[in-house]
Structure formats: structure tokens, C-alpha cells
């Protein structure tokens, strides 16, 4: 009797759970924290961009290797003086509410973004505070938008495409209510807004009338047809729970760390997709520190670290050493960028002797966030530096505190992961500049800043490559930081999930992804 009761209870519970998992065409993906808002490029973080870029699109977007391509624009004509950009819109594109896309929508979205009240993140890039100012935007006919700049900028289209700008999304005006308050994104993306249960999940539904570009998936452009009815981003902050949910089949896919990779690969129900991303794992130096201002000390540190071994250990053998600011996945990653630091402990010892190093302490600041290798990297570097006689400590702090130290420049050395930039000029811009004005900048070299200015203005690919090569050489010579390797985009997938691939942008793209019945 007791046994029957137990069985009945168990069956009842299984039925309850089974009922919850009955939606076969829902693709469930883990997010490690909730999104901040539904307003693209406004109140956002990486997770917010990741979700919203399934619903909204802009005139331009990034391709698979970080190159900028038209998305809602069919083509872009740039005037000879580089000041006038004429966008011709694609025909037949409709918003989620059925309205057709016209130049009036582009104009409306632009004006909303450029209104300071919107607090669009990228407003300073176009209002004259940045490289160039957009002096006028006009819509001469329903399919054409013309943007006028005050001076040429090699970064104009790339900035429009930036994911943290929400891809400069073109929204339908019904996205805001009569009071002008943002309600939800009515965009042109392959998925439309479903339900947002704060702290639990956000679900998006397939947009059946989506007008996809032809061809295969290509970054945020190319073929973008949604193949499942619903995608559900489930918020799970704990990495151990994420793994358990993947193993049990409660999740279809989730980003995992290098440390988890062997376990995930060994599981019969799971497979993985990996690709190097544009994030950078670095050991940066405060070049104004009394010890580290001597370049010989920094060069000694670079020679004392066996970067290949460090990368192999922290990434569980999956990472590829790269000492360049430019990602290994970028089209600009050429032979010049492959020339990096060489492991030479004897040289390190000699450089330390020449610099008069006498056991002065060096502290590396690190954090223990689960998705970055900051702590592991610091600990291994510490051991390698101790091996050449350096006195190195590792100070672990919470992310917000470390960020404050980074921003104020109050550190000697820091194990840090830079967020992804698609364009190399933007990657160099992250680290290069005047420390008096921006203490967060690790590389304060006027000539490098001048070269960077040229790269930001230049539009020609070959000329830009030459500038990046020069910048890389100076960077390696001066060692303001040691770039160890690019982060890895590692997605664990249930065997039933088909059509997914990781990429340089790291953010998952759930179009073209299906679930095998």
C-alpha cells in the first residue's frame, strides 16, 4: 500500500514536471542575470543587448568577422568627401505590428535616440562630443535616408552597428505610448516580444512575417529566419545550477566556462560550440607606478610569463595565445599581429637586474567572477613571476570594487577582461589615451594616440591595417599590458539543438537554430 502510494506520488510529480516541459518548440537558454530594460541601447548591459538584438535591427550591423554590413539598408553610398551617407532601405520589410518600414521610421527612431531625455548610450558619439557630429538627417523619399556629418569618420557606420548602441535600432513609433514613454520594442527582427517575468525569464516569439536577407547566417546580417516558435532566456545566476539544468534537459543551451568544458563534452546529451571572441584577457600595468614605470620591469614580466602554458591552463587547453589587441577572429589579425612576447626567464632575470629590482612588492588585482579567468590568470602569473625572483601578491576583490580601481587607475597590475569590440580601432581606443584625462587608459603614449586618431578617421582597409600593425609593434615594445588571449565563446547545447554556431561577437544568435523532434 505504502509502495503504491509512493509510486503514485512519484508519477504525479513526473506528470507535473512533464507538463512543464511539453512545449517542444521552445528553445531554452540560460542568462546569468536579468536584462535591464527593453529599450535598445538605453538602460542596457551585455545580456540586454543579447536579448534585444533578436527583436530589433538597425541600418547597419556586424558580420561574422566583425565587418560592418548593411542590414535594414539595401546599400549605403558615401560621398567622395566622406561627409554624406545615403542609405537606401530594403523593400518589403515590416515591423512586428505589421507596419511597413519607411524612412520616416528611421527618422523618428534617430530623433528619439538623439533626444537627451531618451538617455541613449551612444548619443555622445554623434552629437559632436566624439569623432564627428551628425549635422542633419533627412528622408527625401520613403526609401531613402541621408545623414550628413561635419567631418569624415572611419567609424561612423561601425558605431551605428555597435551592439551597445542597440545596433541604432529602427523602431516603430508604437514602441512608445501617448505620453512618450517606452513600452516595448516593435522592431523588424526575427523574433518579437513575448513575456518578461522579471527575475525569471524573458520569452520571445517567432515573427512569421520576418523578411530575412538571403544566404547563411553572417553575424547579425545574412539569413536570420527564426525556426522555433519561442525562445526563452531563463535567468539562472548560479553556474552549478546551469550545469545541472543542462544535464537534466531543463535547458537546451547555456554558456559555460573553459573549466566546465571537459565535463560538458563528456555528457552524452550535450555537445559544444566554441569560437574565439573579441573579449581580451589581459594583465595590465599602471605605467605610472614607481616600480612599473620602468619599461624594463614590464618587459621582464612579459618575458617571465610562459603565455602558452598560462593560456593552456586557464582555458583548459581551448584558448589560443594572442598578445595583440586585435582579436584572432578579426580580419585585421595578420602576420604582424602574430608577433608577440617570447618566454625567456633568463632574459627576464637580466632585465630585472638591469632595472635594479630588489624585491619590491607587486600586487595583482583580480576578481572571481565565474565567467572570466581573472583569478586563475593572476595566480598562474604570480607563480611564474615568483620563479624569476619577483615578490608578487594577488589581491582579490569584488567586481564593482575592481572596476572602480580600474576607472581611477589605482592599481599596480590588474588581471582584467575587456568587453568585446568588433573594430580594432575601438579595441585600441579602450586602452589608449591620456591618463591625466582618463586614468582608466592603460597605454599613455602620445604617438600611439595620434596613430589611433588616424585609424579612427581612416576608412580604407589597407591603410587601417598598416596603422594597426604599427600600433601593435609599439604596444609590444612598451608593454603597457600583456594581452594573454581572447575569451572563448563556449556554448553547451543539447544534442537535439541544430544550426547553432559560436562567433566573435559572443552573444548567441538564435535564428537558424532548430530543435530536432
Amino acid at each position: 500500500m505504502k509502495s503504491s502510494l509512493k509510486n503514485a506520488l512519484a508519477l504525479g510529480l513526473i506528470a507535473l514536471v512533464g507538463a512543464g516541459a511539453a512545449q517542444a518548440q521552445t528553445l531554452r537558454l540560460a542568462l546569468n542575470s536579468d536584462i535591464r530594460s527593453l529599450d535598445p541601447g538605453v538602460n542596457r548591459d551585455d545580456r540586454t543587448d543579447e536579448v534585444l538584438l533578436h527583436m530589433v535591427e538597425g541600418l547597419m550591423a556586424y558580420g561574422e568577422k566583425g565587418e560592418v554590413k548593411p542590414l535594414l539598408a539595401q546599400k549605403v553610398d558615401v560621398s567622395a568627401d566622406g561627409l554624406t551617407y545615403t542609405f537606401t532601405l530594403r523593400q518589403g520589410v515590416t515591423f512586428h505590428n505589421g507596419e511597413p518600414l519607411t524612412s520616416a521610421d528611421v527618422l523618428w527612431s534617430w530623433n528619439r535616440d538623439m533626444d537627451p531625455k531618451t538617455q541613449w548610450r551612444c548619443l555622445p558619439e554623434f552629437d559632436g562630443s566624439g569623432l564627428s557630429k551628425v549635422t542633419s538627417v533627412t528622408a527625401p523619399d520613403p526609401q531613402t535616408v541621408v545623414m550628413q556629418l561635419d567631418k569624415p569618420s572611419g567609424m561612423f557606420l561601425a558605431t551605428l552597428a555597435r551592439t551597445d548602441c542597440g545596433g541604432t535600432a529602427v523602431l516603430q513609433k508604437a514602441s512608445v505610448n501617448a505620453q512618450g514613454e517606452f513600452v516595448q520594442p516593435i522592431g523588424t527582427g526575427p523574433y518579437q516580444m513575448g513575456e518578461w517575468k522579471r527575475g525569471q525569464y524573458i520569452s520571445l516569439n517567432r515573427f512569421d512575417k520576418y523578411q530575412s536577407l538571403p544566404g547563411a547566417r553572417d553575424g547579425y546580417v545574412g539569413g536570420k529566419q527564426a525556426l522555433v516558435d519561442e525562445v526563452r532566456f531563463v535567468i539562472i545566476p548560479d553556474q552549478a545550477t546551469v550545469k545541472a539544468a543542462l544535464f537534466s534537459g531543463d535547458l537546451d543551451m547555456a554558456e559555460v566556462t573553459e573549466t566546465d568544458l571537459p565535463e560538458v563534452k563528456a555528457h552524452a546529451n550535450l555537445k559544444v560550440s566554441t569560437a574565439p571572441s573579441a573579449t581580451m584577457n589581459v594583465l595590465m600595468f599602471q605605467t605610472r607606478d614607481p616600480l612599473l614605470k620602468d619599461p624594463r620591469i614590464r618587459q621582464a614580466i612579459a618575458a617571465a610569463i610562459d603565455i602558452d602554458q598560462l593560456v593552456a591552463t586557464t582555458s583548459n587547453g581551448f584558448g589560443v595565445a594572442n598578445n595583440s589587441i586585435i582579436s584572432v577572429a578579426s580580419n585585421y589579425y595578420s602576420a604582424a599581429e602574430k608577433a608577440g612576447f617570447k618566454y625567456d626567464p633568463a632574459k627576464a632575470t637580466e632585465l630585472l637586474r638591469q632595472a635594479g629590482y630588489n624585491g619590491q612588492p607587486l600586487t595583482i588585482v583580480a576578481n572571481r567572477r565565474s565567467m572570466v579567468p581573472s583569478y586563475d590568470l593572476a595566480i598562474i602569473a604570480q607563480a611564474m613571476l615568483q620563479a624569476v625572483g619577483m615578490n608578487v601578491n594577488v589581491e582579490v576583490m569584488e567586481w564593482g570594487t575592481q572596476l572602480e580601481r580600474y576607472q581611477s587607475g589605482r592599481y599596480q597590475a590588474m588581471s582584467f577582461t575587456y568587453s568585446a569590440r568588433f573594430d580594432p580601432a575601438l579595441s585600441f581606443e579602450q586602452v589608449t589615451g591620456n591618463k591625466d584625462k582618463e586614468p582608466r587608459k592603460a597605454w599613455d603614449d602620445p604617438q600611439a594616440t595620434e596613430l589611433l586618431g588616424q585609424a579612427l578617421r581612416e576608412g580604407d582597409v589597407a591603410k587601417r591595417q598598416a596603422i594597426f600593425d604599427q600600433l601593435h609593434k609599439r604596444f609590444i615594445d612598451q608593454v603597457p599590458m600583456i594581452v594573454m588571449y581572447n575569451g572563448l565563446d563556449i556554448m553547451a547545447l543539447n544534442q537535439k539543438v541544430e544550426g547553432y554556431n559560436s562567433w566573435i561577437g559572443q552573444k548567441p544568435r538564435l535564428w537558424g537554430v532548430s530543435i530536432k523532434p
Binding site: 512519484a10 510529480l13 513526473i14 507535473l16 514536471v17 507538463a19 512543464g20 516541459a21 540560460a30 542575470s33 536579468d34 535591464r36 530594460s37 538602460n43 548591459d45 538617455q119 555622445p124 562630443s129 551597445d164 517575468k197 522579471r198 527575475g199 525569471q200 525569464y201 531563463v234 535567468i235 539562472i236 545566476p237 548560479d238 552549478a240 545550477t241 546551469v242 545541472a244 539544468a245 544535464f247 537534466s248 531543463d250 535547458l251 569584488e398 567586481w399 564593482g400 570594487t401 572596476l403 572602480e404 580601481r405 580600474y406 576607472q407 582584467f416 575587456y418 568587453s419 579602450q430 584625462k437 582618463e438 582608466r440
Partner: protein
């Protein structure tokens, strides 16, 4: 009694005020602010200053506090910096999720652990007592998150009886909701049962040694009658205080359990708020929890005479 209630509620006001000052000061002593965290590694000084200004973080701390306090006194706990939601409905919604789990867990733990503790006391120094005390010590020694992960592994992953992640509210679907909260409730019940068993046992042993129990036995009453009729009420009084304290603690502190089981409760909200430096949400949550703590203790005190007739209110 009404006077006592009013008196205690009035006493809560300075407590809440002091808590609010302490919380306000402490969270701001942690380096980093919400503007910095929102902009991340791309925060240029101009943009950072503009964002700080728009969030009111450029004002002196005392001014920020007074602005916040003035709003709180008019019933407005502000708006979340990260999500833009009004704080009061947000924390009430999250608190109700935590409260459902905590109240169920504490009730179940009390129903299971009090009789077991008394049984252990009654059979003091027997193998049963030894077994119960050992189990109780083990249960209260095992960290809650580890117990949670273990249950998740066995009943979620290996046996597949319960979902591993997610949450459904009872308002939406009672059956589904039950499946999602069984494991977190079980984790709390197991952990808190250990504490309650030990307390119930200790206080029962103490009561069983008193003269009036010897007198009852001398009258020829059965052991069952002595235990349940005479010892229970007196032995339960200290346990009741403990249950009140556990309830108060858990209502503000099951963040780890909520994180392991992906429950959108107030504990997880507070942890997220600390990481994001979402000052309004954190301040509002702690105020609410302090108030609930005061309220729970008041209720415990008011119910004390039910168990110990010597206490008069």
C-alpha cells in the same frame, strides 16, 4: 494588548530610522557606484559624470539621504536604478515569493522537529535519542546551499522527479508551482529541523526534571499523558521563541537557496542589488525586512501566553 502592539510598533520607528542610515552609509562605503557598473570598461569621464548627475549621485551624501528619506516618509521607496521599476511593488512581489517558501518550510519543520525533539528527550540516552541528536547535528552543520545542490542532483538530475530550474507562482498554476518549490522547501525544512530538534529536546529534558512532572508521574499518569499533557506547553515556549527567530532570519536571508533553485525571491533581489549597487532597491528591501522582523517578533511575543501561562501581556 493593543497598547503593547502600539508601543512595539512605535519602538520600531527609531530602529527603522537607524537601519536606514546604516544601510545608506554602508552601501556607499563600498567602492564603485551604479553609474560605473552600468558603463563598465567603456566609462569615459564625461559620460560617467553625466550618468551620475542623472542618477542624483553627484549630490552630497547627506542630501541624497534626506531626499530619499523624505520620499520614503510619503510612501515612495523610489525607482530601481537598474530596471527602472518602482521599488515598493517590486520588493513586495519578491518578498511574497520568499515568504511563501519560508513560511511553509518553517511550519513543516516545526511540525516534524518539535515532536521528534520531545521524543528524543523522552527517550533520553537511548539509541533513538542518539540517532535523532546525531541526525539533527548533521542537518544543522551541513551548509544550506550544499544540501540544496545535493537534493537538486538526486531528485532533479538523477531521479528527474522535480524540475532543476525555473519558478511558477501559485497564482498561475498550483500544481506546477508545487513542483518548483518542493526542493527549496525541503532544503530549508531539513536544515532548520536540526536546530529545532535540538532546542525542543533540550527544553523538554529541562521540563521533565521539574517537580510538577515528578508530581504528575507520582499521581500515576501515563507517560504519554505526562509528556503531551504536562510537558509539551512549557517545553514548547523556548522553541517557539527560536521558531520566531528562525522565521525572521529566513525571511531576509535565503538568498543562497534562492540562487541555487532560481527562485525570484527578495534574497536574490538583494544580492543582485548589491552587485549592481542598486541603492534604492537595497535600501527598500532592508527596510521591509527589518519591519517584518519586528513584526514577527511581536507576534511571537503576543502568542507566548498560549504556551506559558506565567507570561502576562
Amino acid at each position: 494588548m493593543l497598547r503593547l502592539i502600539l508601543q512595539r510598533l512605535a519602538m520600531a520607528v527609531p530602529t527603522l530610522l537607524l537601519i536606514s542610515i546604516a544601510v545608506f552609509a554602508m552601501i556607499r562605503l563600498i567602492p564603485g557606484d551604479p553609474a560605473l557598473l552600468m558603463l563598465g570598461d567603456m566609462a569615459d569621464p564625461t559620460r560617467l559624470a553625466a550618468l551620475r548627475q542623472s542618477l542624483g549621485l553627484d549630490q552630497p551624501l547627506a542630501v541624497q539621504y534626506l531626499i530619499w528619506l523624505k520620499a520614503v516618509l510619503s510612501g515612495d521607496l523610489g525607482v530601481s536604478i537598474t530596471s527602472g521599476q518602482a521599488v515598493l511593488p517590486l520588493i513586495l512581489e519578491r518578498f511574497s515569493v520568499s515568504a511563501t517558501i519560508v513560511l511553509s518550510a518553517v511550519l513543516l519543520a516545526a511540525l516534524i522537529a518539535v515532536p521528534l525533539g520531545m521524543l528524543a528527550a523522552w527517550k533520553q540516552d537511548s539509541f533513538l535519542d542518539l540517532g535523532l541528536v546525531t541526525s539533527a547535528t548533521l542537518l544543522l552543520s551541513v551548509p544550506g546551499f550544499w544540501m540544496g545542490l545535493l537534493l537538486l542532483y538526486v531528485f532533479g538530475l538523477e531521479l528527474g522527479w522535480f524540475p532543476v530550474v525555473g519558478y511558477v507562482s501559485f497564482k498561475e498554476d498550483f500544481g506546477k508551482a508545487l513542483a518548483y518549490v518542493v526542493l527549496p522547501i525541503a532544503t530549508l525544512v531539513l536544515h532548520e529541523s536540526g536546530v529545532i530538534i535540538r532546542m525542543a529536546r533540550a527544553s523538554t529534558i529541562e521540563v521533565l526534571r521539574l517537580d510538577y512532572i515528578a508530581h504528575a508521574r507520582a499521581k500515576g499518569l501515563s507517560e504519554r499523558s505526562v509528556l503531551w499533557g504536562h510537558a509539551l506547553r512549557n517545553a514548547f515556549a523556548p522553541t517557539w521563541t527560536l521558531i520566531g527567530l528562525i522565521l525572521g532570519n529566513l525571511l531576509g536571508g535565503i538568498a543562497v537557496i534562492e540562487t541555487v533553485f532560481t527562485i525570484p525571491g527578495i534574497g536574490r533581489l538583494m544580492v543582485d542589488s548589491i552587485y549592481a549597487r542598486d541603492y534604492p532597491v537595497l535600501q527598500g528591501s532592508l527596510l521591509l525586512i527589518t519591519f517584518v522582523y519586528v513584526l514577527v517578533n511581536l507576534l511571537v511575543d503576543l502568542m507566548y501566553p498560549l504556551f506559558d501561562p506565567r507570561v502576562k501581556i
